[in-house]
């Protein structure tokens, strides 16, 4: 078949470099609609690696498949906000109009339907990605049109009937995605003269640049809040070279989408921030690790890189400084929440499964390809450029004593004005709700599933590192929602997104979810509540990386802040209720014999 030549030319196109394995697999998936066992064997033999290494990649990432994914592969977001906005009806419409079931394709292999975790469109749900193209605010009738067009063999790009705002309209993006920038703040979404930061930086020493970032008390915006200046200092003083700057543009925490808007509207600022970081740590190469869900922005981002090269702000002797070289390449992910964890991201950038590394050594000493690497969030790097431009003193005037500057929030869920808000650190939740039109919320999920579920009584709390830290995700949960639906959805998310490496995360979360099902289905006792709490604490303490260390939070934080909701579900008068369900257990047999279980059988 012709596909032999295709695989060979794709592998040759990446110079048979095994560290480009993900890129090869992506191209093959695109060309052939799958990466079959035969294809995996072919790739392995061309690269002279084990076939199991190739299969490990193909089966790890959401957007790769070993079976035909369909000429049109529909990935429908399954996060909780999509659910709030009518996802169920949309999913049913897809199944009805195509005749396919989620997890498979139509009989003719034309259309495949798949679920995927948050795609960063929470302010315009329900949304789906079809062959890399994003479709937002889906309805039953839109699905009908889409399916008809797919059946007619139309190009998915032509199915985008409307364009979003801002750069989404540009020729290189042409997306129906909307930015929904509701509040512009002084740091990110403020006028910035391209070049102002890097031109200033190169007149200083790298030590002075780091000192300025430290003085500004810039903390990592991905959520963990590690001091950026310190990270740069650790990386910069390492003796092994080359050093690398990696921008983590893999925001996967359900409910966050602010990096998508920054990448759309402020790529020049971001890349300049990377150049400043490169100057500070002594790196000449930067990598933007872009989540696959945002692949539609790649051409737009490449254009921004070209602009900066033309302006001599990237490339050789940048900003007129002799011997100061820095350039950036873009690497695409392939669908995996875990790759937002910095060491998993590095593994993925090296073409491997996105499994976190053991630390120490930390990326600042052993990072990309084993060299000293600073991994920073999109927003952090933008803020760093602005600090160089305007000074640490200016930056520290905003925010709280321990959380300087502003935070870009992604607000979604039950509110009138979902979108992006750049606010000073220290904003009270109630004030944010007022801005977003979500005052009647019963709860607010701060920091995504790995964060905290905050109850009404705590809406006085502040969004900052001293109180409620967040990487940006704020999900408003309205008064009529069943909070247990949210908890179930978040636990399903963590179960799906666990890399599977370590026992507590791989096995423990599944057991935690089963216990939750027992409780919410009315079979729980007070002992079950004690156990679910203890098991959750074990998973947090024993897991290898941040995913497992936070995965029980949906349960633990609601147990803490909405205890009465759990108490109402359990039987206080019974010590033990079996979760064994006789009817379910004998269902296969009884359906064969036509026998129906009566109540008497249960007793």
């Amino acid at each position: 078949m012709a596909q032999k030549g295709i695989i060979e030319s794709i592998v040759a196109g990446y110079k048979k470099d095994p560290s480009r394995l993900i890129d090869m697999v992506r191209d093959i998936q695109k060309e052939l609609g799958q990466v079959s066992s035969e294809s995996a064997a072919k790739i392995a033999s061309l690269l002279n690696i084990s076939k199991v290494d190739v299969e490990g990649i193909v089966t790890f990432y959401h957007f790769f498949s070993t079976a035909p994914a369909g000429t049109y592969a529909v990935y429908l977001n399954n996060n909780i906000v999509a659910g709030m906005k009518g996802r169920q009806a949309v999913a049913e419409a897809f199944e009805n109009y195509t005749g396919a079931k989620f997890g498979g394709t139509t009989a003719d292999g034309l259309i495949g339907l798949y679920e995927t975790s948050c795609i960063g469109m929470n302010d315009q749900e329900p949304s789906a990605i079809i062959n890399g193209v994003v479709f937002t605010k889906l309805t039953k009738s839109k699905v009908k049109e889409l399916v008809a067009a797919m059946k007619a063999g139309q190009d998915v790009h032509k199915l985008v009937k409307s364009r979003g705002d801002g750069a989404n309209q540009s020729k290189l993006v042409r997306a129906m995605v909307c930015n929904n920038i509701r509040k512009k703040g002084p740091v990110l979404f403020a006028p910035f003269k391209s070049g102002a930061a890097i031109k200033k930086a190169v007149t200083w020493t790298s030590e002075d640049v780091i000192a300025e970032i430290k003085r500004a008390n810039l903390l990592g915006r991905g959520g963990a809040g590690f001091p950026t200046g310190l990270k740069w200092e650790f990386c910069g003083r390492e003796k092994a070279f080359p050093h690398y700057v990696v921008c983590n543009a893999d925001e996967g925490e359900p409910g966050t989408f602010k990096d998508r808007v920054i990448l759309t509207e402020l790529p020049h600022l971001l890349f300049e921030g990377m150049a400043v970081a490169g100057f500070a740590v002594g790196a000449q190469e930067g990598i933007l690790y872009l989540r696959a869900e945002y692949a539609y922005l790649k051409a737009h981002l490449e254009k921004a890189l070209d602009d900066l090269r033309k302006k001599k702000l990237l490339g050789k002797n940048i900003a007129g400084k002799k011997g100061c070289h820095f350039d950036i390449t873009i690497k695409l992910g392939a669908g995996a929440y875990i790759c937002g964890e910095e060491s998993a991201l590095l593994e993925s950038a090296e073409g491997k499964r996105g499994e976190p590394r053991d630390r120490p050594p930390f990326p600042v000493t052993f990072g990309y390809r084993g060299f000293p690497t600073t991994v920073n969030n999109v927003e952090t790097l933008c803020a760093a450029a602005r600090i160089l431009d305007r000074g640490a003193g200016w930056f520290k005037l905003m925010g709280t004593p321990k959380s300087a500057g502003t935070k870009v929030l992604s607000v979604s869920g039950d509110c009138a004005k979902p979108g992006v808000y750049e606010v000073a650190f220290g904003l009270k939740i109630q004030d944010l709700l007022k801005m977003a039109g979500g005052q009647d919320a019963q709860a607010v999920q701060v920091g995504g599933p790995s964060g905290t579920c905050v109850s009404r009584g705590q809406f006085e709390r502040r969004l900052c590192f001293e109180d409620l830290p967040t990487g940006g995700s704020v999900i408003v949960i309205g008064p009529r929602r069943d909070l247990f639906d949210v908890v179930h959805n978040f636990m399903d998310f963590f179960i799906e997104e666990s890399c599977g490496w370590c026992v507590p995360c791989r096995a423990g979360n599944i057991l935690l979810k089963k216990k939750l099902v027992k409780i919410t289905s009315g079979k729980g006792t007070a002992k079950d509540l004690q156990e679910i709490e203890a098991w959750g604490k074990t998973i947090k303490a024993m897991s290898r990386c941040g995913l497992g260390q936070t995965s029980p939070n949906p349960i633990l934080t609601t147990l803490q802040n909405f205890r009465e909701m759990y108490e109402a579900k359990v039987h206080q008068d019974k010590d033990f209720i079996s979760e064994f369900d006789l009817a379910a257990a004998v269902k296969p047999a009884s359906s064969l014999t036509g026998q129906k279980l009566t109540e008497a059988h249960h007793e």
């Binding site: 290494d53 490990g56 303490a541």
Partner: protein
């Protein structure tokens, strides 16, 4: 005294210990006659930190003793009730995650998972059995991969390589669906002696040499008389 001077001084449950620079907590513990229970760890292989059973506490932080280097002045908590209970629960998770039917298993008595369960006096897991449907897969002429018993310690992934260094075993899929797979051609090239080595490396009865089994009678198996870990306890090198 000079010997102690060049070493890193730290404590495990209050006992003063000394470590060489670069040693992990577990290596140093064993050298000081302290046993830290572990399962995925295998002498001579790069640690994987996958089973998490060797997790210890330093201050408020939990860390895997097999991957964490010792630092001067570290106060390591090892045998403390809440940590021991969490370790026990990991062992129980492994028992319910797969299908571990010890009485019929060739590895019984030599199995490290079983030995740990005995050491922790596990009677019945606190978690519900999952009874997953898993396969027994032939792996070349000399090996079987009994997926029901695989605990994904990654020892075979790390330790069994082809002559040119290629991986023979590897992880596929992710989440609870993660499993060990192998390259059919490369696994078929393993000699009977290499297959035996692979089986011995496997802590449980997941990798089995074909056509042999139950060769060592009960009473003469590795953990029949002394519990796992007793080879380290009280000895100081």
């Amino acid at each position: 005294m000079s010997k102690a001077m060049s070493k890193i001084k730290f404590t495990i449950d209050g006992k003063v210990c000394f470590a060489e620079p670069g040693q992990t907590i577990i290596e140093a513990a064993n050298a000081n006659g302290v046993y830290i229970p572990s399962l995925c760890r295998y002498e001579g292989l790069k640690p994987a930190g996958s089973c998490r059973i060797c997790t210890v506490r330093v201050g408020r932080g939990h860390m895997a003793a097999c991957t964490q280097p010792v630092a001067e002045g570290m106060a390591v908590e090892n045998i403390v009730p809440d940590l021991e209970d969490m370790r026990k629960s990991l062992i129980e998770m492994l028992f319910v995650e797969g299908n571990h039917l010890c009485p019929t298993c060739q590895k019984s008595g030599n199995c490290e998972l079983q030995a740990l369960a005995y050491r922790y006096q596990m009677l019945v897991p606190r978690f519900p059995y999952q009874f997953p449907v898993r396969q027994v897969e032939p792996a070349g002429p000399n090996l079987l991969l009994e997926q029901n018993r695989c605990i994904q310690c990654l020892r075979c992934v790390r330790g069994v390589k082809a002559k040119d260094g290629k991986a023979i075993f590897g992880s596929v899929r992710r989440s609870g669906k993660t499993k060990i797979a192998f390259d059919h051609d490369l696994v078929a090239a393993l000699s009977p002696a290499e297959a035996k080595k692979a089986m011995d490396m496997c802590p449980v009865g997941a990798l089995l040499k074909k056509e042999v089994g139950f060769t060592v009678p009960i009473g003469k198996r590795k953990f029949d008389h002394k519990p796992i870990g007793s080879e380290f306890e009280g000895k100081r090198s």
